[in-house]
Assembly symmetry: D2
Homo-oligomer: 263 residues x 4
């Protein structure tokens, strides 16, 4: 399982969350506490919104803990909305194109989880991607396929509905193929203004997800960034955290997605 | 355009063709003579048959000219049938999964050329790949898609017919999509026993391809490996060179492939 | 020979010089016009001053032309003083530690050129590095050794004198060893406020170096960034360009360095 | 701490030790049992003797567990004497030049351990390297410096004496500098015919080292390659295992090295 963090608020240096805290994301790349695998050494990525509508992207296949470029970038770049991700592959190759976050126009996406039995329905999941969007398919992960499927549903108006629609379609494909393994999905989506963080699983074992509102802004993380864990609250399973930049986030139930399956 | 070489015969060190000759493939990665681009720095690969039915594979994203691993391997490995390739990307990313040769079970394939307008028919080309073979699709190149389509047609009995069938299907897809750009295809296919090298183009401009029979075996190359060019003969455009390990290669016309188009 | 560019002035996006112009530095990595080798594919680097005293650094071993991270960073990062470099190795390995620019505290340095017969005097050149600075020696290039030797001479007060002193010492080492090959040195040094660009050679063949003052600031480059070459003037051989951020740069003769040798 | 294995005997596929056993070296790169750090993701390397006097070398900066090239090579290459190493950096950069094994002419060397306070005596340790050998210094590790110092002492006649001499010199440098941290040294040295494996530490905490004689040959490993640990015996601390290809290895005490220090 991967580890990730998302931030939105007053511009801060990426280092404040990615590299400096005691249990920072880079520290978690070496050893994480709440996941099945205890290391995330199969690549990493940063995505951040700066002065352009399109976000910046820095992804590489090295372990995060030994990449001097990553460290230097987090110390130089200040952003009002950014994603960071360290990857533990669930089978697909370690390549830049398979590293998170993924970018499409002004959108960023990252994911921790897995589509059960993906290899058996991969082509059908890829068929959810619109012809217009398909040229952007540059890797082979289920995560990128989900993201490009969401991008195929004109997410501008209601991004959560687009995500929910794609998840519904994937559950249908899994059922059709008789797949027993669960779908687990803990993901973040942003467009420079809005932040969505979704936590769900078809089998009741949604990967961990926490959030904290501090003076400067909102952080959403796979694992608390400090050992005390003070102030971190779990995002409820089967829910989406929706944040527009002000006040507290709103939580929306994913309700009927996956029908009779436990969220 | 990429540069490649294939060898079959008595076992020789890969270095004898890949790194030592004056105009060796590694030298061609820096500067080639007969291609549109004058450098092939977007990755490289070796594939070779040793003691196992499945060939060895070594591919990386660095330029061939600066990879010490590549040099060391060519000096250590001796093989009776091997492929080597240096890549100049025609647009797809520089990743290991996009480097040639490609391997599927006991088969190796490499390619120099391009499907015109590939982005517009990519998904349809990928649909030529059988469900059984599709999990092996690990990159995004047209070359890998062609290879896996060939593998989907049970190539064991008549590999040339499998290649010709796939090319025919691709020409049909191109016509259907109204694509004007040419298909250019100079490729090699091997299974440990047999070697096929194909040279064709839909517009009369097939990439260069040469062969030479020496005492030890047969070499097929994008460009002669020495400046004198002594003994190298062109593979005729629109033809396949077929070699079984003994004597001289046989040349077969690709005939009607691509219908009225010039080969 | 490598290619580089340095900028100082009003903050601009790195892309304005590194990736967008017709003959941008990234374009020069593929094909340059005025150098002995026609490609610079052995790594690249960016160094830039942002909000911290210490500059940011992004270096990697891939060719610049195929690195999506590099492209993204140049489009996001805006800086008042930055360096960019594409490398053609003169023999040392392609590793991040051998890529330019080099950083020491708040200083940046990059270089195009070569110490003649370096392998024969390498250890003596390294002995010019102070014990205090030596732990920062992380690669094997002559360029890094020169830089750390300059840093060993307390460059804060008079950086040009520090560079000149090191070059003098190296000339002495070369003479002592009876080295006939020339020293060629076209380099830039910055500390966030000041920019130095030096052009010299012991044999009268100093690598090319140009400068242009535009509305926003000063650019110094190995080669003009556009084909028209309008407004670019050569830095005279045997001279240093010194710039403090305002008005026109000042040119200082390197005079007696290397004694009787032609500059 | 790193993990390594060495083999000498009848030619076997590298995969038999490197990738296939339950607790193979590649498995140990993800999780090892007896070391301070529980992961070795900072690069890896293979060195093997084939048909040439000079051994082959394949080293890269990725974690061993995700490198398809490594897997393919171990399945193809058969050797009578080979080394494999997975690295956990003790501070120096992750670069190919810092990966083990190191090669000099027909010699191979690899190491698990550390010179205490190395940064403070690095230049003096490097001064143990002969001028003739110094051009081969291509990285910055203490391990490579030790190896090149051994190579500077004409190791052909008595390789163990050369190693012991270098260790003695390093202990002297440490004492002189008042270094309190220990020297820990578990290393292997080979020349195609002979295999040396040394286990020692100045503080009584020598890193683990095991050996096993099987039908085909001798294996020496940081950790047993199977969970049962059957047949593996510890190399006694303060001793060198010396093997010439036949019968059982001989163990020699390192005796007075480091003088009054516990071995």
């Amino acid at each position: 399982m991967c580890r990730w963090l998302a931030y939105q608020g007053a511009p801060i240096f990426l280092a404040d969350l990615v590299s400096r805290p005691g249990h920072s994301l880079i520290a978690q790349s070496r050893r994480c506490a709440e996941a099945k695998v205890d290391m995330n050494g199969d690549g990493f990525g940063l995505g951040w919104y700066g002065e352009c509508p399109e976000p910046g992207l820095y992804r590489d296949v090295h372990p995060a803990w030994s990449d001097e470029n990553l460290l230097s970038l987090t110390e130089q770049i200040r952003s009002r909305q950014f994603f960071a991700h360290v990857r533990a592959s669930t089978g697909t190759a370690t390549s830049r194109a398979n590293c998170h976050p993924f970018r499409y126009r002004n959108w960023l996406f990252m994911h921790n989880g897995q589509i059960g039995g993906y290899e058996r329905i991969r082509r059908k999941v890829e068929a959810l991607i619109d012809d217009r969007v398909y040229p952007s398919r540059s890797g082979t992960t289920d995560s990128e396929a989900i993201f490009l499927s969401v991008m195929s549903r004109n997410p501008e108006e209601d991004p959560l509905a687009a995500v929910a629609g794609v998840l519904d379609s994937i559950f249908a494909l899994m059922r059709e193929a008789g797949i027993e393994e669960p779908l687990r999905f803990t993901a973040a989506l942003a467009d420079g203004d809005r932040l969505l963080a979704i936590r769900m699983a078809s089998d009741g074992n949604a990967p961990s997800l926490y959030w904290r509102r501090c003076e400067k802004g909102l952080s959403v993380v796979s694992e608390p960034l400090d050992q005390t864990r003070e102030g971190w609250r779990a995002v409820p399973a089967g829910h989406a955290l929706v944040f527009g930049g002000d006040g507290d986030p709103v939580f929306k139930s994913l309700g009927s997605i996956g029908a009779s399956r436990a969220a």
